[in-house]
Symmetry: C2
Subunit: 237 residues, 2 copies
Protein backbone atom coordinates (compact mmCIF):
# COMPACT_ATOMS: atom_id res chain seq x y z
CA UNK A 1 0.00 0.00 0.00
CA UNK A 2 1.10 3.51 -0.67
CA UNK A 3 0.24 6.84 0.82
CA UNK A 4 0.09 8.50 -2.60
CA UNK A 5 -0.34 7.16 -6.10
CA UNK A 6 0.67 8.61 -9.47
CA UNK A 7 -2.19 10.01 -11.51
CA UNK A 8 -3.19 9.18 -15.09
CA UNK A 9 -3.95 12.36 -17.07
CA UNK A 10 -7.23 10.84 -18.29
CA UNK A 11 -9.46 7.93 -17.16
CA UNK A 12 -8.43 4.50 -18.48
CA UNK A 13 -10.72 1.49 -18.18
CA UNK A 14 -8.98 -1.88 -18.43
CA UNK A 15 -11.09 -4.96 -19.09
CA UNK A 16 -9.61 -8.14 -17.64
CA UNK A 17 -11.11 -11.25 -19.22
CA UNK A 18 -11.83 -14.12 -16.82
CA UNK A 19 -12.71 -17.74 -17.58
CA UNK A 20 -12.69 -20.98 -15.56
CA UNK A 21 -9.10 -22.09 -15.05
CA UNK A 22 -7.47 -18.70 -15.60
CA UNK A 23 -4.03 -18.23 -14.01
CA UNK A 24 -4.47 -15.84 -11.05
CA UNK A 25 -1.08 -14.11 -11.22
CA UNK A 26 -1.44 -13.54 -14.99
CA UNK A 27 -4.34 -11.23 -14.16
CA UNK A 28 -3.34 -9.85 -10.76
CA UNK A 29 0.27 -8.92 -11.57
CA UNK A 30 -0.79 -6.43 -14.28
CA UNK A 31 -3.88 -5.39 -12.27
CA UNK A 32 -1.68 -4.38 -9.33
CA UNK A 33 0.65 -2.43 -11.64
CA UNK A 34 -2.22 -0.61 -13.36
CA UNK A 35 -4.12 -0.26 -10.08
CA UNK A 36 -1.20 1.68 -8.59
CA UNK A 37 -2.18 4.60 -10.85
CA UNK A 38 -5.11 6.82 -9.93
CA UNK A 39 -7.48 7.05 -12.89
CA UNK A 40 -6.94 3.50 -14.14
CA UNK A 41 -9.96 1.33 -13.40
CA UNK A 42 -10.16 -2.43 -13.76
CA UNK A 43 -13.29 -4.25 -14.92
CA UNK A 44 -13.36 -8.02 -14.43
CA UNK A 45 -15.32 -9.50 -17.32
CA UNK A 46 -16.46 -13.08 -17.88
CA UNK A 47 -19.13 -14.92 -19.85
CA UNK A 48 -21.41 -14.51 -16.85
CA UNK A 49 -21.18 -12.07 -13.99
CA UNK A 50 -20.23 -13.76 -10.69
CA UNK A 51 -17.58 -16.12 -9.33
CA UNK A 52 -14.97 -17.55 -11.71
CA UNK A 53 -12.65 -20.25 -10.39
CA UNK A 54 -8.97 -20.56 -11.13
CA UNK A 55 -6.95 -23.71 -10.69
CA UNK A 56 -3.58 -22.57 -9.33
CA UNK A 57 -4.07 -21.49 -5.75
CA UNK A 58 -7.75 -22.46 -5.82
CA UNK A 59 -8.70 -18.81 -6.04
CA UNK A 60 -12.15 -17.63 -7.08
CA UNK A 61 -12.54 -14.09 -8.41
CA UNK A 62 -15.86 -12.36 -8.92
CA UNK A 63 -16.52 -11.11 -12.46
CA UNK A 64 -18.02 -7.65 -12.15
CA UNK A 65 -19.40 -7.65 -15.71
CA UNK A 66 -20.56 -10.12 -18.38
CA UNK A 67 -19.40 -10.28 -21.99
CA UNK A 68 -22.91 -9.33 -23.12
CA UNK A 69 -23.10 -6.10 -21.15
CA UNK A 70 -19.56 -5.15 -22.09
CA UNK A 71 -19.88 -5.64 -25.83
CA UNK A 72 -18.63 -2.45 -27.50
CA UNK A 73 -21.08 0.02 -28.92
CA UNK A 74 -19.61 0.49 -32.35
CA UNK A 75 -17.92 3.86 -32.60
CA UNK A 76 -19.14 4.31 -36.18
CA UNK A 77 -22.73 3.80 -35.06
CA UNK A 78 -22.23 6.26 -32.22
CA UNK A 79 -20.77 8.81 -34.61
CA UNK A 80 -23.74 8.44 -36.96
CA UNK A 81 -25.99 9.05 -33.99
CA UNK A 82 -23.85 11.97 -32.89
CA UNK A 83 -23.53 10.40 -29.44
CA UNK A 84 -21.33 12.22 -26.97
CA UNK A 85 -19.56 8.97 -26.07
CA UNK A 86 -18.28 8.31 -29.59
CA UNK A 87 -14.70 8.97 -28.58
CA UNK A 88 -15.00 7.31 -25.18
CA UNK A 89 -15.34 3.54 -25.48
CA UNK A 90 -16.38 1.40 -22.52
CA UNK A 91 -12.89 -0.08 -22.48
CA UNK A 92 -9.58 1.50 -23.43
CA UNK A 93 -7.33 -1.50 -22.79
CA UNK A 94 -8.07 -5.24 -22.70
CA UNK A 95 -6.00 -7.87 -20.88
CA UNK A 96 -6.37 -11.62 -21.48
CA UNK A 97 -4.69 -13.93 -18.95
CA UNK A 98 -3.66 -17.52 -19.62
CA UNK A 99 -4.01 -20.66 -17.54
CA UNK A 100 -5.05 -24.26 -18.04
CA UNK A 101 -8.55 -23.06 -18.90
CA UNK A 102 -7.35 -21.70 -22.25
CA UNK A 103 -7.32 -25.28 -23.61
CA UNK A 104 -11.13 -25.23 -23.44
CA UNK A 105 -11.70 -21.53 -24.12
CA UNK A 106 -9.99 -21.59 -27.55
CA UNK A 107 -13.20 -23.30 -28.66
CA UNK A 108 -15.61 -21.01 -26.79
CA UNK A 109 -17.45 -18.93 -29.43
CA UNK A 110 -18.78 -16.52 -26.80
CA UNK A 111 -15.29 -15.60 -25.60
CA UNK A 112 -13.80 -15.47 -29.09
CA UNK A 113 -16.65 -13.23 -30.31
CA UNK A 114 -16.08 -10.88 -27.39
CA UNK A 115 -12.37 -10.60 -28.24
CA UNK A 116 -13.13 -10.06 -31.93
CA UNK A 117 -15.74 -7.40 -31.21
CA UNK A 118 -13.18 -5.42 -29.25
CA UNK A 119 -9.91 -6.11 -31.03
CA UNK A 120 -10.51 -7.10 -34.66
CA UNK A 121 -8.99 -4.69 -37.24
CA UNK A 122 -11.31 -1.80 -38.11
CA UNK A 123 -13.97 -3.04 -35.69
CA UNK A 124 -14.47 0.53 -34.54
CA UNK A 125 -14.56 -0.43 -30.88
CA UNK A 126 -12.22 2.35 -29.85
CA UNK A 127 -9.95 -0.09 -27.98
CA UNK A 128 -6.39 1.24 -27.76
CA UNK A 129 -4.43 -1.79 -26.51
CA UNK A 130 -5.06 -5.53 -26.43
CA UNK A 131 -2.73 -7.49 -24.14
CA UNK A 132 -2.27 -11.17 -23.35
CA UNK A 133 -0.28 -12.95 -20.67
CA UNK A 134 1.05 -16.49 -20.89
CA UNK A 135 -1.28 -18.85 -22.82
CA UNK A 136 -3.76 -15.99 -23.20
CA UNK A 137 -2.01 -15.52 -26.56
CA UNK A 138 -3.70 -18.73 -27.69
CA UNK A 139 -7.10 -17.08 -27.19
CA UNK A 140 -6.09 -14.05 -29.27
CA UNK A 141 -4.64 -16.40 -31.90
CA UNK A 142 -7.74 -18.59 -31.97
CA UNK A 143 -9.81 -15.43 -32.52
CA UNK A 144 -7.63 -14.68 -35.55
CA UNK A 145 -6.39 -11.44 -34.02
CA UNK A 146 -2.67 -12.16 -34.25
CA UNK A 147 -2.55 -13.34 -37.88
CA UNK A 148 0.49 -11.83 -39.59
CA UNK A 149 1.66 -10.28 -36.33
CA UNK A 150 4.64 -10.97 -34.08
CA UNK A 151 3.65 -12.48 -30.74
CA UNK A 152 4.94 -14.58 -27.86
CA UNK A 153 3.64 -16.82 -25.10
CA UNK A 154 4.98 -18.91 -22.25
CA UNK A 155 7.54 -21.60 -22.92
CA UNK A 156 6.08 -24.59 -21.06
CA UNK A 157 3.03 -24.69 -23.34
CA UNK A 158 4.85 -23.40 -26.43
CA UNK A 159 4.01 -26.24 -28.83
CA UNK A 160 0.31 -26.08 -28.09
CA UNK A 161 0.02 -22.28 -28.12
CA UNK A 162 1.84 -21.90 -31.43
CA UNK A 163 -0.41 -24.60 -32.94
CA UNK A 164 -3.43 -22.36 -32.29
CA UNK A 165 -2.08 -19.63 -34.60
CA UNK A 166 -0.34 -21.02 -37.71
CA UNK A 167 -0.38 -17.56 -39.34
CA UNK A 168 1.23 -15.85 -36.33
CA UNK A 169 4.92 -14.92 -36.36
CA UNK A 170 5.74 -16.54 -33.01
CA UNK A 171 8.82 -15.14 -31.24
CA UNK A 172 10.18 -17.63 -28.70
CA UNK A 173 12.92 -15.52 -27.07
CA UNK A 174 10.88 -12.59 -25.75
CA UNK A 175 9.70 -11.44 -22.33
CA UNK A 176 6.97 -9.62 -24.25
CA UNK A 177 6.28 -8.52 -27.84
CA UNK A 178 4.57 -5.33 -29.00
CA UNK A 179 3.07 -5.27 -32.50
CA UNK A 180 0.69 -2.41 -33.22
CA UNK A 181 -2.07 -2.34 -30.58
CA UNK A 182 -1.29 -5.93 -29.52
CA UNK A 183 1.08 -6.80 -26.69
CA UNK A 184 1.67 -10.44 -25.85
CA UNK A 185 3.80 -11.56 -22.92
CA UNK A 186 5.55 -14.75 -22.00
CA UNK A 187 4.61 -16.80 -18.92
CA UNK A 188 2.85 -15.49 -15.80
CA UNK A 189 5.14 -12.84 -14.25
CA UNK A 190 6.23 -11.64 -17.71
CA UNK A 191 2.81 -9.99 -17.78
CA UNK A 192 3.80 -7.81 -14.84
CA UNK A 193 6.85 -6.58 -16.74
CA UNK A 194 4.69 -5.96 -19.81
CA UNK A 195 2.32 -3.90 -17.69
CA UNK A 196 5.15 -1.70 -16.44
CA UNK A 197 6.32 -1.25 -20.05
CA UNK A 198 2.77 -0.31 -21.11
CA UNK A 199 2.62 2.39 -18.43
CA UNK A 200 5.96 3.70 -19.63
CA UNK A 201 4.92 3.99 -23.29
CA UNK A 202 1.39 5.22 -22.54
CA UNK A 203 1.87 7.47 -19.49
CA UNK A 204 5.62 8.03 -19.23
CA UNK A 205 8.55 6.80 -17.16
CA UNK A 206 7.57 8.72 -14.05
CA UNK A 207 4.18 7.03 -13.73
CA UNK A 208 5.65 3.61 -14.59
CA UNK A 209 8.43 4.04 -12.04
CA UNK A 210 5.97 5.10 -9.35
CA UNK A 211 3.75 2.07 -10.06
CA UNK A 212 6.76 -0.27 -9.80
CA UNK A 213 7.78 1.43 -6.56
CA UNK A 214 4.24 1.07 -5.14
CA UNK A 215 4.57 -2.68 -5.68
CA UNK A 216 8.24 -2.70 -4.55
CA UNK A 217 8.85 -4.42 -7.87
CA UNK A 218 12.15 -4.52 -9.74
CA UNK A 219 10.89 -4.92 -13.31
CA UNK A 220 12.60 -6.76 -16.12
CA UNK A 221 12.78 -3.91 -18.61
CA UNK A 222 14.18 -5.59 -21.71
CA UNK A 223 11.47 -7.10 -23.93
CA UNK A 224 14.00 -9.28 -25.74
CA UNK A 225 15.82 -10.72 -22.72
CA UNK A 226 14.20 -14.07 -21.93
CA UNK A 227 16.28 -16.76 -20.24
CA UNK A 228 13.20 -19.00 -20.09
CA UNK A 229 13.37 -19.38 -23.88
CA UNK A 230 16.38 -21.65 -23.40
CA UNK A 231 15.32 -25.29 -23.01
CA UNK A 232 15.92 -26.61 -19.51
CA UNK A 233 16.54 -23.20 -17.93
CA UNK A 234 15.73 -23.02 -14.22
CA UNK A 235 16.12 -19.72 -12.31
CA UNK A 236 18.54 -19.50 -9.42
CA UNK A 237 16.79 -19.70 -6.07
Amino acid sequence: MASSKPQAPHPIRVGIVLFPGFEPLDAVGPANVFGAVEGIQMLWIAEQQGPVSSKTGSMTVVASHSFAEMMPQQQQQQQQQGGADAADPKLHWLLVPGGVGTRKEVANPSLLSFLQAWAAPDCGSGLQLCMSVCTGAALLAAAGLLDGRRATSNKMAWEWVTSTGPKVQWVRAARWVADGPFLTSSGVTAGTDMAVAVLKTQLGSEVAGAAAKYNEYMPNTEADVDPFAEAGFVPDV
Copy 2:
Protein backbone atom coordinates in the same frame (compact mmCIF):
# COMPACT_ATOMS: atom_id res chain seq x y z
CA MET B 1 0.50 -22.89 -17.01
CA ALA B 2 2.80 -25.88 -16.97
CA SER B 3 2.50 -29.38 -18.25
CA SER B 4 4.01 -30.82 -15.08
CA LYS B 5 4.42 -29.48 -11.54
CA PRO B 6 6.89 -30.38 -8.81
CA GLN B 7 5.44 -32.47 -6.01
CA ALA B 8 5.51 -31.79 -2.27
CA PRO B 9 6.45 -34.94 -0.31
CA HIS B 10 3.47 -34.40 2.02
CA PRO B 11 0.24 -32.33 1.87
CA ILE B 12 0.60 -28.68 2.93
CA ARG B 13 -2.44 -26.51 3.61
CA VAL B 14 -1.81 -22.76 3.42
CA GLY B 15 -4.38 -20.43 4.92
CA ILE B 16 -4.50 -17.03 3.23
CA VAL B 17 -6.22 -14.42 5.37
CA LEU B 18 -8.53 -12.04 3.51
CA PHE B 19 -10.13 -8.80 4.71
CA PRO B 20 -11.77 -5.81 2.99
CA GLY B 21 -9.05 -3.72 1.35
CA PHE B 22 -6.40 -6.45 1.15
CA GLU B 23 -3.73 -5.94 -1.54
CA PRO B 24 -4.41 -8.52 -4.29
CA LEU B 25 -0.82 -9.14 -5.38
CA ASP B 26 0.30 -9.60 -1.75
CA ALA B 27 -1.87 -12.71 -1.67
CA VAL B 28 -1.72 -13.90 -5.26
CA GLY B 29 2.06 -13.69 -5.78
CA PRO B 30 2.76 -16.22 -3.01
CA ALA B 31 -0.36 -18.23 -3.89
CA ASN B 32 0.90 -18.70 -7.45
CA VAL B 33 4.35 -19.75 -6.18
CA PHE B 34 2.90 -22.24 -3.68
CA GLY B 35 0.19 -23.32 -6.14
CA ALA B 36 2.87 -24.38 -8.63
CA VAL B 37 3.62 -27.33 -6.33
CA GLU B 38 1.34 -30.37 -6.34
CA GLY B 39 0.31 -31.12 -2.77
CA ILE B 40 0.17 -27.51 -1.58
CA GLN B 41 -3.43 -26.39 -1.14
CA MET B 42 -4.59 -22.83 -0.54
CA LEU B 43 -7.54 -21.98 1.71
CA TRP B 44 -8.89 -18.43 1.48
CA ILE B 45 -10.09 -17.45 4.93
CA ALA B 46 -11.99 -14.34 6.02
CA GLU B 47 -14.24 -13.27 8.88
CA GLN B 48 -17.17 -14.49 6.83
CA GLN B 49 -17.22 -16.91 3.92
CA GLY B 50 -18.00 -15.20 0.60
CA PRO B 51 -16.78 -12.24 -1.46
CA VAL B 52 -14.08 -9.96 -0.04
CA SER B 53 -13.25 -6.78 -1.91
CA SER B 54 -9.80 -5.34 -2.47
CA LYS B 55 -9.08 -1.76 -3.41
CA THR B 56 -6.19 -1.93 -5.86
CA GLY B 57 -7.52 -3.33 -9.11
CA SER B 58 -11.07 -3.44 -7.75
CA MET B 59 -10.75 -7.20 -7.43
CA THR B 60 -13.14 -9.28 -5.35
CA VAL B 61 -11.98 -12.71 -4.14
CA VAL B 62 -14.27 -15.32 -2.63
CA ALA B 63 -13.28 -16.52 0.85
CA SER B 64 -13.71 -20.28 0.89
CA HIS B 65 -13.73 -20.50 4.69
CA SER B 66 -14.61 -18.36 7.73
CA PHE B 67 -12.39 -17.66 10.74
CA ALA B 68 -14.86 -19.55 12.95
CA GLU B 69 -14.75 -22.79 10.99
CA MET B 70 -10.97 -22.60 10.61
CA MET B 71 -10.13 -22.03 14.27
CA PRO B 72 -7.52 -24.61 15.26
CA GLN B 73 -8.47 -27.59 17.29
CA GLN B 74 -5.87 -27.42 20.01
CA GLN B 75 -3.27 -30.09 19.50
CA GLN B 76 -3.04 -30.73 23.23
CA GLN B 77 -6.77 -31.37 23.42
CA GLN B 78 -6.56 -33.72 20.47
CA GLN B 79 -3.67 -35.58 22.07
CA GLN B 80 -5.64 -35.97 25.30
CA GLN B 81 -8.49 -37.41 23.27
CA GLY B 82 -6.09 -39.63 21.36
CA GLY B 83 -7.42 -38.23 18.08
CA ALA B 84 -5.76 -39.46 14.92
CA ASP B 85 -5.44 -35.88 13.63
CA ALA B 86 -3.30 -34.66 16.53
CA ALA B 87 -0.24 -34.28 14.32
CA ASP B 88 -2.16 -32.96 11.31
CA PRO B 89 -3.49 -29.46 11.93
CA LYS B 90 -6.06 -27.89 9.60
CA LEU B 91 -3.39 -25.43 8.45
CA HIS B 92 0.36 -25.90 8.16
CA TRP B 93 1.26 -22.41 6.96
CA LEU B 94 -0.54 -19.07 7.31
CA LEU B 95 -0.11 -16.04 5.03
CA VAL B 96 -1.33 -12.55 5.92
CA PRO B 97 -1.38 -9.98 3.10
CA GLY B 98 -1.29 -6.22 3.55
CA GLY B 99 -3.25 -3.45 1.87
CA VAL B 100 -5.06 -0.30 2.91
CA GLY B 101 -7.56 -2.44 4.84
CA THR B 102 -4.93 -3.18 7.50
CA ARG B 103 -5.50 0.30 8.96
CA LYS B 104 -8.95 -0.88 10.08
CA GLU B 105 -8.14 -4.54 10.73
CA VAL B 106 -5.47 -3.80 13.36
CA ALA B 107 -8.48 -3.05 15.60
CA ASN B 108 -10.59 -6.06 14.55
CA PRO B 109 -10.70 -8.45 17.54
CA SER B 110 -12.09 -11.27 15.38
CA LEU B 111 -9.09 -11.18 13.02
CA LEU B 112 -6.53 -10.68 15.79
CA SER B 113 -8.00 -13.59 17.78
CA PHE B 114 -7.79 -15.82 14.71
CA LEU B 115 -4.11 -14.94 14.25
CA GLN B 116 -3.37 -15.48 17.96
CA ALA B 117 -5.15 -18.83 18.02
CA TRP B 118 -2.95 -20.08 15.22
CA ALA B 119 0.38 -18.34 15.81
CA ALA B 120 0.79 -17.38 19.48
CA PRO B 121 3.73 -19.08 21.25
CA ASP B 122 2.80 -22.48 22.70
CA CYS B 123 -0.77 -22.23 21.40
CA GLY B 124 -0.53 -25.84 20.29
CA SER B 125 -2.15 -25.14 16.93
CA GLY B 126 0.42 -27.16 15.02
CA LEU B 127 1.10 -24.27 12.63
CA GLN B 128 4.60 -24.47 11.15
CA LEU B 129 5.02 -21.08 9.47
CA CYS B 130 3.32 -17.69 9.80
CA MET B 131 4.04 -15.25 6.97
CA SER B 132 3.10 -11.66 6.26
CA VAL B 133 3.44 -9.51 3.17
CA CYS B 134 3.65 -5.72 3.12
CA THR B 135 1.52 -4.08 5.84
CA GLY B 136 0.29 -7.53 6.86
CA ALA B 137 3.12 -7.27 9.41
CA ALA B 138 1.04 -4.64 11.23
CA LEU B 139 -1.67 -7.26 11.81
CA LEU B 140 0.84 -9.73 13.27
CA ALA B 141 2.33 -6.92 15.37
CA ALA B 142 -1.07 -5.75 16.61
CA ALA B 143 -1.80 -9.34 17.65
CA GLY B 144 1.41 -9.24 19.73
CA LEU B 145 2.95 -12.06 17.72
CA LEU B 146 6.13 -10.24 16.71
CA ASP B 147 7.13 -8.90 20.14
CA GLY B 148 10.87 -9.35 20.63
CA ARG B 149 11.27 -10.65 17.09
CA ARG B 150 12.96 -9.22 14.00
CA ALA B 151 10.48 -8.25 11.26
CA THR B 152 10.05 -6.03 8.23
CA SER B 153 7.28 -4.41 6.21
CA ASN B 154 6.92 -2.19 3.19
CA LYS B 155 8.61 1.17 3.08
CA MET B 156 5.79 3.49 2.00
CA ALA B 157 3.81 2.81 5.18
CA TRP B 158 6.87 2.27 7.38
CA GLU B 159 6.08 4.87 10.08
CA TRP B 160 2.56 3.57 10.62
CA VAL B 161 3.45 -0.13 10.55
CA THR B 162 6.31 0.23 13.04
CA SER B 163 4.02 2.21 15.35
CA THR B 164 1.76 -0.86 15.64
CA GLY B 165 4.57 -2.92 17.21
CA PRO B 166 6.76 -0.91 19.62
CA LYS B 167 8.31 -4.14 20.99
CA VAL B 168 9.24 -5.46 17.52
CA GLN B 169 12.82 -5.25 16.25
CA TRP B 170 11.93 -3.65 12.91
CA VAL B 171 14.48 -4.16 10.13
CA ARG B 172 14.11 -1.54 7.42
CA ALA B 173 16.62 -2.81 4.85
CA ALA B 174 15.22 -6.28 4.14
CA ARG B 175 13.36 -7.91 1.28
CA TRP B 176 12.10 -10.34 3.89
CA VAL B 177 13.03 -11.40 7.44
CA ALA B 178 12.84 -14.90 8.94
CA ASP B 179 12.72 -15.22 12.74
CA GLY B 180 11.67 -18.60 14.08
CA PRO B 181 8.35 -19.63 12.54
CA PHE B 182 7.62 -16.04 11.44
CA LEU B 183 8.51 -14.64 8.03
CA THR B 184 7.67 -11.04 7.24
CA SER B 185 8.25 -9.51 3.82
CA SER B 186 8.56 -6.00 2.54
CA GLY B 187 6.07 -4.48 0.05
CA VAL B 188 3.82 -6.43 -2.34
CA THR B 189 6.15 -8.36 -4.69
CA ALA B 190 8.64 -8.98 -1.89
CA GLY B 191 6.10 -11.57 -0.76
CA THR B 192 6.64 -13.52 -3.97
CA ASP B 193 10.37 -13.68 -3.26
CA MET B 194 9.67 -14.75 0.32
CA ALA B 195 7.43 -17.54 -0.99
CA VAL B 196 10.21 -18.85 -3.24
CA ALA B 197 12.60 -18.75 -0.27
CA VAL B 198 10.07 -20.63 1.87
CA LEU B 199 9.82 -23.39 -0.72
CA LYS B 200 13.61 -23.59 -0.80
CA THR B 201 13.99 -23.99 2.96
CA GLN B 202 10.96 -26.24 3.40
CA LEU B 203 11.02 -28.40 0.26
CA GLY B 204 14.45 -27.82 -1.30
CA SER B 205 16.00 -25.91 -4.17
CA GLU B 206 14.64 -28.19 -6.88
CA VAL B 207 11.00 -27.60 -5.92
CA ALA B 208 11.59 -23.86 -5.43
CA GLY B 209 13.34 -23.57 -8.79
CA ALA B 210 10.55 -25.45 -10.55
CA ALA B 211 7.91 -23.20 -8.96
CA ALA B 212 9.82 -20.09 -10.10
CA LYS B 213 10.12 -21.57 -13.59
CA TYR B 214 6.38 -22.35 -13.69
CA ASN B 215 5.74 -18.65 -13.09
CA GLU B 216 8.63 -17.59 -15.38
CA TYR B 217 9.79 -15.61 -12.39
CA MET B 218 13.35 -14.43 -11.75
CA PRO B 219 13.31 -14.24 -7.95
CA ASN B 220 15.24 -11.83 -5.79
CA THR B 221 17.08 -14.38 -3.68
CA GLU B 222 18.88 -12.19 -1.14
CA ALA B 223 16.77 -11.44 1.94
CA ASP B 224 18.99 -8.51 2.90
CA VAL B 225 19.16 -6.76 -0.48
CA ASP B 226 16.46 -4.09 -0.51
CA PRO B 227 16.95 -1.00 -2.64
CA PHE B 228 13.48 0.24 -1.62
CA ALA B 229 14.81 0.85 1.91
CA GLU B 230 16.65 3.87 0.54
CA ALA B 231 14.51 7.01 0.75
CA GLY B 232 13.45 8.27 -2.67
CA PHE B 233 14.49 5.13 -4.55
CA VAL B 234 12.56 4.52 -7.78
CA PRO B 235 13.24 1.40 -9.88
CA ASP B 236 14.49 1.75 -13.43
CA VAL B 237 11.75 1.23 -15.97
